[in-house]
Assembly symmetry: C2
Homo-oligomer: 510 residues x 2
């Protein structure tokens, strides 16, 4: 894509460059919503906190200015990229807007917006099924109809994908939308779910949308502005977000953190290193009048959003986005549910692992969830596929405990006693693999907090051995309880399948 170019990948997320008429936006990115009529945080502040693009509402501007056209960059005194929304949110809130679909398209073109949205009809949460179907068809119809008007413009155009909360409708809508040559697709109005902390729902809708759309085009998610959820959405392929939450939360005295939300009244200390929290105390903020306090809390919220996006990008560069999600998932039960939803898509996500070139940073085994790390899953599957093509009747399985695995004394000692046996190594997280891989990624590059047994790895291991055609297996058992139980689980299933098992204790050799 000449306007979107991604170079760093991890999971289904990426760092991209979105080229607009007023400059490049590095994604993942969040467009802060600005309203020139009541902007509490100055655009210079927004810029200096780390946001080089903003979004404003073209429909509100059109209404207030009675349709008269001004250059939006002049009007906002902002030379960087501007995205404009079209009034879809107002339709959701008030049922209708007093502008038609063609007019608002032309208006966005004439004011010189860089990224524009067609006037969609959001389905929202309280819409009946038949009504939602109508809105989806109407949004798609408008998407089709708008094409001649927008294809020659210098703007980037966004097509909202409606249908949520009806999943089949959303999937249908995304499938059809994928055929319309828009620059950017977006998941429409999930704000309502965010307010209820139903992060798992937003993740599900984002996944459904993303998986039906071309991966080389960016996906925008409307109305998502909390740092808690951003890494999870990036991991499944969301690229940009927009939100007014930084100021809406601030008006209620609420501080966003990447691990939760607290109102000023719940805070005794400001548990954050941002310039606002480093300079003021809770008492000082409480003593201020709201005209002083609200912009400070809004700036805190922007600082946290900005650093969270940097954190996500650094994690993508390091190839540790999965580890980052594991970590964040322990901050709050709602994030645990969010993470469990992401886990459902591991097979989809692991497809993208080959795109990423990690900095040879070690994979971290933090918890049971690390068994599902898509890098590990992809490695286990690829290696299982390779070795299951070997035709081997006798194998010896040696525990892979101490790195480098092929330097373990047990390997040298025991394997020489069994000439003609295929030597394989086993590990509760890494599964079954040949010793030859011991010094390659990730067999050498991982760090372990703990190991646990997961039945699916046991099953994978057994399946690989059966596909190889083994008839006799020598199983070397170490003292370590987890490895031992893992091996005994394997042995039990193999015995059931009629494989001859010989158990060898390794303790005399280590």
């Amino acid at each position: 894509m000449e306007y979107f170019d991604a170079r760093d990948f991890d999971l289904a997320g990426r760092i991209g460059r979105l080229k607009t008429g007023s400059g490049v936006i590095e994604t993942p990115f969040l467009f802060p919503v600005v309203d020139p009529a009541k902007q509490t945080v100055s655009l210079e502040d927004i810029r200096s906190i780390g946001f080089n693009a903003i979004i404003t509402n073209a429909y509100l501007m059109y209404s207030r200015m009675k349709g008269s056209v001004v250059d939006i960059h002049d009007f906002l005194k902002w030379r960087n990229p501007v995205m404009t929304d079209s009034g879809g949110y107002q339709i959701l809130e008030y049922g209708d807007v007093d502008v038609d679909e063609d007019t608002i398209i032309e208006y966005q073109k004439r004011i010189g917006s860089d990224i524009c949205v067609i006037l969609d009809i959001p389905t929202g949460t309280h819409t009946a099924r038949t009504q939602a179907e109508k809105y989806v068809f109407e949004t798609i119809r408008r998407g089709w109809r708008a094409l001649p008007r927008i294809m020659d413009s210098k703007q980037l155009w966004v097509l909202p994908v409606q249908g949520a909360p009806f999943k089949d409708l959303l999937e249908y809508s995304a499938t059809i939308s994928a055929r319309l040559p828009y620059h950017i697709y977006s998941l429409g109005s999930p704000t309502v779910f965010l307010e209820k902390y139903s992060y798992d729902k937003i993740i599900e809708y984002t996944f459904i949308t993303r998986s039906k759309l071309p991966y080389n085009k960016p996906l925008h998610v409307f109305g998502v502005g909390h740092p808690m959820i951003i890494p999870f959405l990036v991991a499944i392929g969301a690229d940009t977000f927009d939100s007014a939450s930084y100021i809406l939360y601030a008006r209620d005295g609420r501080f966003m953190f990447e691990w939760g939300t607290r109102s000023l009244n719940e805070l005794f200390y400001l548990p954050c290193s941002c310039p606002v929290c480093s300079r003021f105390s809770v008492e000082e903020l409480k003593e201020m009048n709201s005209r002083e306090r609200i912009p400070l809390i809004a700036k805190h919220n922007l600082y946290v959003l900005s650093s969270e996006i940097r954190r996500v990008k650094q994690s993508i560069k390091e190839g540790r986005l999965w580890e980052y999600l594991e970590y964040r998932s322990k901050a709050h039960p709602s994030l645990k549910r969010a993470f469990n939803t992401v886990k459902k898509y591991v097979n989809y996500i692991s497809r993208f692992c080959s795109l990423s070139q990690p900095l040879s940073l070690a994979i971290l085994f933090l918890d049971r969830d690390s068994i599902h790390n898509p890098r590990i899953v992809a490695t286990r599957m690829a290696v299982a596929e390779n070795i299951s093509r070997e035709r081997v009747s006798r194998a010896i399985l040696i525990p892979a405990i101490e790195k480098p695995f092929d330097q373990q004394r047990i390997l040298r000692d025991v394997s020489s006693e069994y000439p003609g046996y295929r030597v394989l190594m086993y590990n509760p997280y890494l599964g079954l693999f040949p010793p030859e891989l011991s010094s390659t990624y990730p067999y050498y590059q991982h760090e372990t907090g703990l190991f646990e047994i997961n039945t699916s790895v046991v099953e994978e291991t057994v399946m690989t051995l059966l596909r190889m055609g083994v008839e006799e297996v020598v199983l070397v058992l170490p003292d370590d309880k987890v490895f031992r139980d893992f091996a005994l689980n394997i042995s039990r299933v193999l015995v059931d399948r009629g494989i001859k098992i010989t158990i060898r204790e390794s303790s005399s050799h280590v």
Copy 2:
């Protein structure tokens, strides 16, 4: 204690006020090490980042000034509290110092330090056992001998507890030290373990020391200056820390984060919201010369340390320090090991639960580790103790799934069918409890990410029922798999003990 006064408690940690001759220090606190001969970050900056007390080395000052006496507050131009170290670290590094124990005590008194340390002999890591014993005895002897000199002084005096890495020696040393009336005790020189990321070791040594010392006196831990480990040490009762790591790391271009360490060369983005990371980019920092860059990285490190301490204090106020440790433990395998070490001390920690008065904030069930949340452990134990005193031959056990538990339809429907049965509720995390408690803390105030079965809760539940003398149990089984498995585990053990079990499916009632 007139000089130390703690009001907020959580786990074995607390927020305290340490009163010195130059003002109050709120604990937990970290004293940044300053060296007037080569101070890169100004004391005004240190103050404004949030540190109202510092530590400097009285021995180095004595050497450089050839013993001449100046007021240390004048000398440093610092009106706030000053702690001074005595040269123990130099003994560890260079084997000896050219000052005797009495002279350095008198010197610290005369320069007007607020918190002083006697000249101890650190054991360090490479000392042989017999040598370490000598150092421990000598440190204790010096502690005794110093008493007449220091008891009348206006300073607060610190007695270092030596003996690590020999645990029995450390325990002995702490037990004897507890009898010496010092204001503050300290764990000597664990820096060496920090450098190797052996957080589990430092936690173990801190616990051994803390558990032998009077709880109403503060415990200092020398040389701990990484935000990763601070919450874990606070949770087991450490109050203050000191470290030069903010500047030592900065000289190597290393950034501390609460989740890890990265050198500037490993960073593509600055994943932090502090004033330094919010203002500069990685490229800008790389282009600076080291004279500009080092103070900026040092300030970043101080900002992160300062906000981490605020985060820990906020967690103590909320009664959520355990949840915070669970969360942090997933940031890195070394923290997982640190957390597993803290878990070993849950029985000790849960003793302090009664001290804390949480803000009725919900307990978060984030993970399996939440089963060991000392608040939950203490509740389960107290309730088990109470109900096991009842003499009951027939009981009906009802799953506690939906809050409020006593409003569940299943409770009303089923319990009326069994008149004369003691109605009890069960839950894989909360154990066994009477429905009467359903609206009390924490039976109502908790939030669930997931449930899992832990055999120790199964055993506790069975034990309570047996102590009650039950002969017949009606077990109501819900559809939920985890609750069901939990109940079936209980049933299996009860059947083995000869208890008559009747299984009731609840699905027809829910």
